[in-house]
């Protein structure tokens, strides 16, 4: 089970949890399962998020692998100038 870290204000959308354990093996599965289990986060996920997987920020690549011991952090979508 991958441990998904939920930071700060996002915790309100995950029933107050700071860590959510999910049986997922890639980013796509994560983005599907999160709103299924925690419907309150669906608008945020739909708006677009970045996900840090083992220290690398991933914006879109669905098939980025998530291992059971991966560090996964959901973040606002990273942009640049």
């Amino acid at each position: 089970m991958a441990k998904i870290q939920i930071f700060g204000s996002l915790r309100d959308l995950f029933s107050g949890h700071d860590v959510v354990e999910l049986d997922v093996s890639n980013l796509r599965q994560l983005l599907i399962k999160l709103p299924q289990l925690y419907p309150e986060c669906a608008p945020e996920i739909a708006e677009g998020v970045s996900v840090s997987i083992d220290g690398k920020i991933i914006n879109d690549a669905w098939f980025t692998p998530i291992r059971p011991d991966s560090e996964v952090v959901v973040l606002p979508r990273i942009v640049g100038g």
Partner: protein
């Protein structure tokens, strides 16, 4: 071979830029240089009010003016595609104008003079509404409301409806951390909005046929995004619009979105003619996308040993008339340079009657860094600690849990701090009224959607086509990476930036992504060419492909029959390519992930005139981790440019709004960006801690250098004049007033 051990032949050299001669001789074609036969000239009528309801628009007199070929208002725009409503509203107002300079109508005429005359003939009836432009006023419960109903559910109670978005980050328990501190500092900091200050104003020319297929030439950081946004605003298919990017005279994030482009398309559609529009400087300042202005509450605790025990920041970012997420990118990186057990940041997005903000190098990070690094510097003074040692004690490393969540991979912050400490600048004596400031800064960097094609030409030269306008020398850097990979001279490769009809989608030149992401795709495209050559030669030589290797720019046979086949270089392969099956090309399309984070450390010396409060920058040094500098001149240019823009933000630049909510300083005489005579030589040190996500170790370098300067200069000025500076820009009257305060 890893990036750390690879011996480069081309990479790292200071080779000639391919666009240099064109740019200094005037041959290069910028946005305003593009013309077409029978072309019309467009002009926009803009709101004189900060906030008003449009009661009526009478365009009849303008339409009757001889030479006017089209007049448009919002009524001429279709219902936009979903998600582009705000973009359309920002390009052309609907029933309300939301800021001084908001577009209300536009004309296309046979000359610029007639177009200018025509917009004066358009009669607009306004009902002026209450406005708010200041971030502190905008959050008050009784402030005039810019938009109703935008407040997201997580925004705390007690603010006006202008506070539309809330985010927070952090870990640990800050209250416990503050209790463990020997000193706790709380301050409120403010910064004003600034503009990217690109020298070339926005310019665009477009034509549209009766079949609604259109072509556009535009000055932009990303013509694929311009295409997508124009298509969204004009309810077109993207394929119906082909966009070609001109050379670009600066962008810095401000040219990643549309302002005049959909208006030009709408004029071209209505007139049936090609239409060109070039913004004036006044329009650029009033109606494109400046930065946020901010109010930031910061609290930092530190013990006597210099360990930071807790940090807290509450950031209010004024983002203009539409909802934005820039404040997140202040809240996340504010304390990112430090390994912290207890950290919390909160971000609140505030809308006002100002132009919609746009990106500007590391959007959101410089103000937050100013606040955080100022507080840390003041605590160092209070506790009698060396600011360099405090930063070294607390510096984040590979394996540190960052202040915004993820654990860092290896990066070069410690190396940057060590290089700064060892730099002669850090130990140089200061004179009277001078002070030295230090600041560290961070930016995320990213990769994104990228397509590259590489072609082997008949004579063995190589053409690279990519889709990102060349802002900082990317054509040279991409050519160098391809030359390195193919083992051929740099001069044998030419990289061109192609139009949206010739390549798959690319994100703009933003996010410090091009050398990383386009470079990655170009290297992989070159590798595809090598693999194709190996396969074809193996067939010709009737050997196993694994026995054909590409080395030093030639294919070599390494199997049992070694010596039987002479190596073939790229020109020899090109000569027989058709015999071997036809043209040889490689391409790579990917969502480039794996951009490494970036840190920089800046040292600034300033001198403050005690009579006038005027600050002069005496010495400035930038130290930054570039991963691997492909062309060091360009890296240094980025470091210098970012520092200069940050110095302007710290000392001179600000949007000044009057009581009427209108911008007061709409030209470069009153909006004062630093010029060469204002500045010392900006010294640079490139640190190279390779990014494992790139074959050559590249990290983006374009944005981080603007993050520390606001703080570095503020810390230097504060130490020079003996008064802590908390309000940017540090204009002479403000500094003088602070010095005269008891």
């Amino acid at each position: 071979m890893s990036a750390q051990t690879k011996q480069f032949k081309v990479i790292g050299q200071r080779l000639q830029r391919p666009d240099g001669i064109d740019k200094v001789t005037g041959r290069a074609r910028y946005g305003a240089d593009i013309d077409a036969a029978g072309m019309l000239h467009g002009k926009i009528l803009r709101s004189p009010h900060a906030h008003a309801r449009i009661l009526s628009i009478d365009t009849s007199a303008a339409e009757q003016l001889n030479g006017v070929m089209a007049v448009i208002t919002r009524a001429d725009f279709p219902t936009p595609h979903k998600g582009f409503e705000d973009v359309q509203d920002n390009c052309m107002a609907g029933d309300r104008v939301l800021y001084d300079g908001h577009a209300v109508a536009a004309v296309a005429a046979t000359s610029k003079h007639i177009a200018k005359q025509a917009i004066k003939l358009i009669k607009v009836q306004y009902q002026v509404l209450p406005h708010v432009t200041d971030v502190e006023q905008a959050i008050q419960p009784d402030a005039p409301v810019v938009h109703s109903g935008l407040v997201s559910r997580r925004v705390p109670k007690g603010f006006s409806e202008n506070v539309v978005r809330y985010s927070s980050f952090g870990h640990g328990d800050i209250e416990t951390g503050f209790k463990a501190a020997d000193a706790v500092l709380e301050r409120t900091y403010k910064t004003e909005a600034t503009h990217q200050g690109y020298i070339e104003p926005h310019a665009c020319m477009a034509s549209m046929g009766l079949d609604n297929r259109a072509d556009m030439w535009v000055c932009t950081q990303g013509h694929f995004w311009i295409r997508n946004m124009c298509a969204g605003v004009m309810a077109m298919e993207s394929a119906s619009l082909r966009v070609t990017a001109s050379e670009i005279g600066g962008g810095f994030g401000g040219k990643t979105t549309v302002f005049i482009e959909p208006v030009v398309l709408a004029l071209a559609k209505k007139s049936g003619r090609a239409v060109k529009m070039v913004m004036t400087r006044e329009e650029v300042l009033r109606a494109t996308g400046p930065t946020v202005s901010t109010m930031m509450h910061v609290k930092v605790g530190m013990n006597k040993a210099g360990r930071i025990t807790a940090t807290y920041a509450k950031l209010f970012y004024q983002a203009g008339a539409y909802k934005q997420a820039t404040v997140d990118f202040g809240a996340m990186p504010a304390f990112a340079p430090y390994a912290l057990e207890n950290v919390k940041t909160e971000g609140l997005d505030v809308i006002t009657n100002r132009p919609r903000t746009a990106s500007y190098r590391a959007p959101g990070a410089p103000p937050a860094c100013f606040a955080a690094e100022s507080a840390i510097d003041e605590l160092c003074q209070e506790l009698g600690l060396d600011p360099m040692e405090v930063r070294l004690i607390n510096a984040a490393k590979g394996g540190t849990k960052s202040s915004y969540g993820p654990t860092f991979e290896d990066h070069g912050l410690i190396q940057c701090l060590e290089a700064a400490k060892a730099h002669p600048h850090w130990q140089a004596p200061l004179e009277i009224n001078q002070g030295r400031g230090l600041a560290a800064g961070f930016w995320f960097n990213f990769g994104g959607e990228t397509c590259v094609s590489v072609f082997l030409n008949n004579d063995g030269s190589v053409t690279v086509t990519e889709g990102n306008p060349d802002i900082g020398g990317s054509r040279a850097s991409i050519s160098m990476m391809v030359a390195e990979e193919l083992g051929i001279p740099y001069e044998q490769v030419r990289t061109t930036v192609t139009d949206t009809g010739s390549l798959g989608p690319n994100e703009p030149t933003h996010g410090s992504r091009v050398t990383f992401a386009v470079g990655l795709a170009a290297i992989k495209s070159a590798r595809a060419i090598i693999d194709e050559i190996r396969a074809r030669l193996a067939r010709m030589w009737e050997v196993d492909v694994t026995d054909v290797v590409w080395q030093d720019g030639a294919a070599h046979y390494t199997g049992n029959k070694a010596g039987t086949f002479e190596p073939l270089d790229l020109r020899q392969v090109a000569d027989i390519a058709n015999n071997l099956g036809g043209p040889i090309a490689g391409h790579h399309e990917a969502n480039a992930e794996g951009a490494g984070v970036s840190f920089g450390v800046h040292i600034a010396d300033t001198e403050v005139d005690p009579e006038t409060g005027f600050t002069s920058v005496k010495r400035y040094t930038v130290i930054q981790d570039a991963g691997k500098a492909i062309q060091p001149d360009y890296v240094e240019g980025q470091l210098q440019g970012g520092a200069v823009q940050g110095i302007g933000w710290a000392l001179n630049e600000e949007y000044v709004y009057g009581e009427d909510g209108c911008l007061q300083n709409t030209g470069f005489l009153d909006y004062r960006i630093p010029v060469a005579s204002d500045l010392p030589m900006i010294d640079t040190v490139i640190v190279e801690v390779p990014n494992p996500g790139h074959p050559f170790g590249v990290r983006g370098v374009g944005e981080t250098p603007i993050v520390p300067p606001l703080a570095a200069i503020a810390n230097a000025v504060s130490r020079a004049c003996g008064k802590r500076q908390v309000d940017l820009p540090m204009s002479p009257p403000k500094v003088l007033a602070s010095m005269q305060k008891a």
